[in-house]
């Protein structure tokens, strides 16, 4: 059976791993390579590295850390942030990343998704979506440039529409980051994920809100997501991955051993 995936996410800023609350107030967590290695050894199924400054800054971002990660870890990893062209993606993949994830650049230029599909294959094209629940309107809205508070802006897209659009254009996986939940550890946005799951035929990864082991069980069982991404609970040692995997296995969730 295909196992559900546990995916620690490492937000990278200026070459170190950071974490903020609701995308704000970033604090330094540690160096990239030792953290990557630690998670691989702990049984993480995959890693995601978000270069959170990249999409919002115009400068060229140093990505040499991608190669350093590829040298030491033996589980798959995805790199996100600052990938605006087929050539950008090619460089990251050549350095040893297994997948690349695009978010703001896909919104600015949806053609990029298809170009990546045609060049590298659907399997390495991940589209990240930052979705905000607007309580006033009851709508799920797609946001852009969320790495930079000053530039964060709402787009014209409703989340489910964008989910369908990116699949049409060739996305191989979708990471849905529920912004209202990010970093607050109150659980994944099951309601939203169920709606997106119904519109998503490619693997769907839940992001934002993990705080306790029960949240992982809930998101796998209720929203039927393929993977659950989390950051602070892992970085702060609130949940240990081997313990979580064992518990989920006892709850009849398929986990890699």
């Amino acid at each position: 059976m295909l196992a559900r995936r546990l995916i620690p996410c490492l937000d990278v800023r200026d070459g170190v791993v950071v974490k903020g609350v609701k995308f704000r107030n970033h604090e330094i967590i540690g160096d990239i390579v030792p953290l990557a290695q630690k998670y691989a050894e702990a049984g993480a199924d995959e890693l995601v590295f978000y270069d959170i400054t990249a999409s919002s800054d115009k400068r060229v971002v140093d990505k040499s850390w991608v190669s350093k990660i590829a040298q030491v870890i033996d589980i798959p990893f995805c790199v996100a942030g600052g990938i605006k062209t087929v050539e950008d993606a090619g460089l990251i993949l050549e350095m040893g990343a297994d997948k690349i994830s695009i978010n703001s650049p896909a919104l600015a230029n949806p053609e990029l998704i298809t170009a990546l599909y045609n060049t590298y294959g659907q399997q390495c094209v991940v589209v990240g979506i930052d979705s905000f629940y607007n309580e006033a309107s009851g709508n799920y809205e797609v946001y852009q440039f969320t790495g930079d508070e000053k530039r964060t802006q709402k787009t014209q897209w409703q989340t489910v529409d964008w989910v369908q659009e990116v699949q049409k254009r060739g996305a191989g996986e979708i990471v849905l980051n529920c912004m209202n939940q990010d970093g607050v550890r109150k659980g994944y946005d099951i309601e939203q994920l169920i709606k997106v799951r119904a519109a998503c035929d490619v693997p769907l990864i839940a992001s934002g809100g993990a705080g306790e082991t029960q949240h992982f069980k809930d998101v796998f069982e209720q929203a039927d997501v393929d993977g659950a991404l989390a950051a602070s609970v892992f970085h702060k040692g609130i949940i240990e991955i081997p313990v979580l995997k064992q518990w989920l296995r006892e709850q009849q969730i398929t986990m890699r051993n």
Binding site: M1, L2, L93, G121
Partner: protein, 206 residues
């Protein structure tokens, strides 16, 4: 671990993600060269046909580098990984988005790569899945039935006479294939933790 430093050449197909395979062999102590030079490929102890990308782009690149004949005449152990495995059979259904032409492959063994039919399941088949060993082979020495490997693909070769190990997603497909000196794995051993490292080490000992 192999006692002498085995020389591995990773064929530079011009597509992406050659580094991860290279690093995985280096972790095992092998001397790895990445090359698209016919001489260098032909003289290697072991050859890797790597694997990320789309079949049409990969075949176009291999053709452009005039490597088809070279690869077809290799006699040392050759391991195709993921797309690299798919390129080893006769042809592939994979085409550019919007096109429906089959892509002729390297024809190192019979077989056809088809879009996976998985019913309600999601494609790509992405993540860790278990393999069933179909035929005993040194490639799977010390790897138990049911071991998890990392898969990322939407196309596959059905289970058939050249299948060494199978995997089930919607229906059974070839997780590993073999004919003479040619071995192919649909999963990514370089990203499959301990089981993957074991398989690569086994390959170096063939």
């Amino acid at each position: 671990m192999p006692t002498t430093k085995t020389k591995v050449t990773v064929i530079n197909t011009g597509c992406a993600n050659i580094a991860s395979v290279k690093f995985a062999f280096e972790r095992l102590g092998a001397a790895v060269t990445v090359s698209d030079d016919v001489q260098k490929i032909s003289l290697a102890d072991h050859v890797i046909l790597p694997g990320v990308g789309a079949a049409p782009a990969a075949m176009k690149s291999i053709q452009g580098k005039q490597l088809i004949d070279c690869i077809q005449h290799l006699t040392q152990p050759v391991l195709g990984v993921c797309l690299g495995m798919q390129l080893m059979v006769s042809n592939s259904e994979e085409s550019d988005l919007g096109s429906s032409n089959n892509t002729p492959c390297l024809n190192l063994m019979p077989g056809k790569v088809e879009r996976m039919q998985v019913g309600d399941l999601r494609l790509p088949h992405m993540g860790w899945n278990q393999i069933s060993i179909v035929e005993q082979n040194p490639l799977f020495k010390g790897i138990s039935n049911g071991s998890y490997f990392y898969f990322v693909h939407s196309y596959a070769v059905s289970k058939y006479e050249h299948t060494l190990a199978s995997c089930d997603y919607g229906k059974p497909f070839s997780a590993a294939i073999h004919r003479n000196n040619f071995f192919g794995v649909q999963f990514h051993p370089e990203r499959s933790s301990d089981a993957g490292a074991q398989l690569l080490e086994n390959f170096l000992l063939i």
